[in-house]
């Protein structure tokens, strides 16, 4: 089978890092063609993800020793079903955001956007493909630096302040993570996750490492009460950047926390999972209430991110006895990535059209930008968790796990969070139907900006209809350790 072996013979994982990195350099050097080069790089990355997916389905878990150097000294790339799922979500959001950016950024800003964005994409891909905790630190730092630089791209005091706050929070998070890495290396003499998992045992040093690494990653994931940097950064960045920050960047640190928890800390942490669940619950309620209170569209969407990130942490206390909770978290991660990116892109369109983002002054947007408002509403359906959307499946699985364990407090949080989400989504949609008191400008929104938002929102809905393929994908490599659980 020459065709099959040609696909499985290529090292797609290495390409996933190499392509965007090379693309970034070329875009930086050859600014005149940055837009077309950037877009073609992202399309190539999507094809490489498809190649990796094919390879995984054919041959199972993917391993690649970069430069031929193995685990203790060299860098090893590793991909299982969970990594692949994150890579697919990243590629989907990346493609939509890139098409959107071709219309959004004018020349002067486009030449700064593309190199940074491709570096961010390379760092995200590398993070999802890494299997040792030090490599993960480096990729985490690369993601943070590129994201902070992108936040500042808008210019102006608000964006610079948002970027600065974001950078400081992100550096604090990664240094705390690195101290944890140092302690783990001292205890077990390795940074490879699989080796660490084999040697893991409970000790004060491990607890200190667990605390430091979790705290650092929680800071980067913006779990309440360490979310203070997120709303200013995500709301002041340019629309495509906000979409990437809210959709992908916070998910990267959550993915890392999930990995560490599944492989290393799950067995040695007592009671911490309940604390994470509690913080998650507060985040859901507090973030939703804050979102309801906002008068600016982008701040509303940013606070909604704080609330939706809380849901991810509800899985921790539930997962001890029900593995469906991890499936729920994985589902929520990807459906929120798609829906929130769509929402930020739609918000960007409304802002581009009207020149402001005051919710109360949105002027008959339903008639003037029907595609964009439709995209916002569809994304809202997934955020609220109405069927048949990806968000519904995730929240349903959470509810199911909470009900079977008799955790009525978490049941109440999931339901109340959904109701509050409906509140803030309809607050925006209500204003989109009515006429505003103040006259305002109307600038044409190109089709290249309207369609990506709509397609992403549709993808978030379709995600609710393809649950079985997604779950069978996640079982490649058995990231959630389903086989080990005794019922």
């Amino acid at each position: 089978m020459p065709a099959g072996s040609a696909v499985t013979g290529v090292s797609w994982g290495a390409l996933l890092v190499l392509l965007p990195l090379t693309g970034a350099m070329v875009c930086f050097l050859w600014t005149r063609a940055a837009r077309i080069l950037g877009l073609s790089t992202v399309i190539a990355v999507c094809l490489a993800v498809a190649g990796l997916g094919w390879q995984l389905l054919q041959e199972g878990v993917y391993h690649h020793a970069a430069g031929g150097w193995g685990a203790p000294l060299g860098i090893e790339l590793y991909a299982d079903g969970l990594s692949l799922l994150m890579l697919i979500a990243t590629a989907a959001v990346a493609l939509a955001v890139s098409i959107y950016s071709t219309g959004y950024f004018k020349r002067a800003r486009a030449i700064r956007f593309w190199p940074l964005w491709l570096i961010l994409l390379a760092a995200l891909n590398a993070l999802f493909l890494s299997a040792d905790i030090f490599n993960l630190y480096v990729t985490l730092e690369l993601v943070g630096l590129a994201a902070a630089a992108l936040t500042a791209l808008g210019g102006g005091a608000a964006a610079l302040r948002g970027a600065m706050r974001y950078l400081l929070a992100s550096l604090l998070g990664s240094l705390s993570y690195l101290l944890g890495v140092a302690l783990l290396y001292h205890s077990f003499g390795s940074v490879d996750i699989a080796m660490l998992a084999a040697r893991m045992e409970s000790s004060p040093t491990v607890w200190a490492a667990l605390g430091l690494m979790s705290a650092g990653l929680i800071m980067k994931t913006a779990l309440y009460p360490l979310h203070f940097w997120l709303p200013p950064a995500h709301s002041s960045a340019p629309a495509p950047v906000s979409a990437v920050l809210s959709g992908l960047v916070v998910k990267a640190s959550f993915y890392l926390l999930l990995r560490l928890w599944l492989e290393l800390f799950g067995s040695v942490s007592e009671g911490i999972d309940n604390m994470l669940g509690l913080l998650g619950s507060v985040a859901v309620l507090w973030g939703s209430v804050q979102a309801l209170r906002q008068t600016r569209l982008k701040l509303l969407v940013a606070y909604s991110t704080v609330a939706q990130l809380g849901y991810l942490f509800l899985a921790f206390p539930l997962a001890a006895s029900a593995m469906t909770a991890w499936n729920a978290a994985a589902y929520l991660v990807i459906s929120h990535a798609l829906a929130k990116a769509a929402m930020f892109l739609a918000a960007g369109n409304l802002m581009h059209f009207a020149g402001h983002d005051r919710i109360a002054d949105l002027d008959r947007m339903v008639q003037r930008l029907p595609l964009t408002v439709f995209a916002f509403a569809l994304a809202g359906v997934s955020i609220m968790g109405l069927p048949p959307s990806g968000g519904f499946i995730g929240k349903w699985l959470l509810l199911e796990a909470a009900l079977t364990q008799g955790r009525w407090d978490l049941v109440a949080v999931v339901i109340l969070g959904g109701l509050l989400a409906a509140g803030y989504v309809f607050k925006v949609l209500g204003s989109a139907f009515t006429q505003a008191a103040v006259p305002q400008r109307a600038r044409r929104v190109p089709a290249s900006m309207e369609w990506p938002a709509l397609l992403l929102a549709c993808a978030a809905i379709v995600l609710g209809l393809v649950t079985l393929p997604v779950f069978s994908l996640v079982t490649i490599g058995d990231a959630f350790g389903v086989d080990e659980v005794v019922p």
Binding site: P72, F134, A182, Y185
Partner: protein, 102 residues
């Protein structure tokens, strides 16, 4: 208590000191310095714990990590400093709140 543990404790001390300074100081350059002090603390812990005692000599892996860490720290500091410069040029203040606090 041997020398390695002492160095590691000093490293943790530097880390905590940096964390304290990062929180209490409003001036952004001081915050960036605090982050760098924290980073040095972490590197000291890494290097100190690399000495596995006796004939085994020194472990090279943590030293490689520190080198990588320094590269990351330099780039992060450079980005943070240019942000401060831009912010000061835009608002006239090198603080996040926009007030002149020293």
């Amino acid at each position: 208590m041997n020398a390695a543990v002492l160095y590691a404790l000093v490293g943790v001390g530097l880390y905590s000191l940096g964390l304290y300074a990062l929180i209490v100081h409003a001036h952004l350059v001081r915050k960036i310095l605090a982050i760098n002090v924290m980073g040095s603390g972490v590197f000291l812990v890494l290097v100190a714990l690399a000495r596995r005692g006796g004939e085994a000599g020194t472990d090279a892996v943590p030293q490689a990590m520190v080198i990588t860490g320094i590269v990351v720290a330099v780039s992060a500091t450079a980005l943070a400093l240019i942000l401060v410069v831009k912010l000061a040029a835009e608002t006239g203040y090198a603080t996040l709140s926009g007030n002149r606090q020293e």
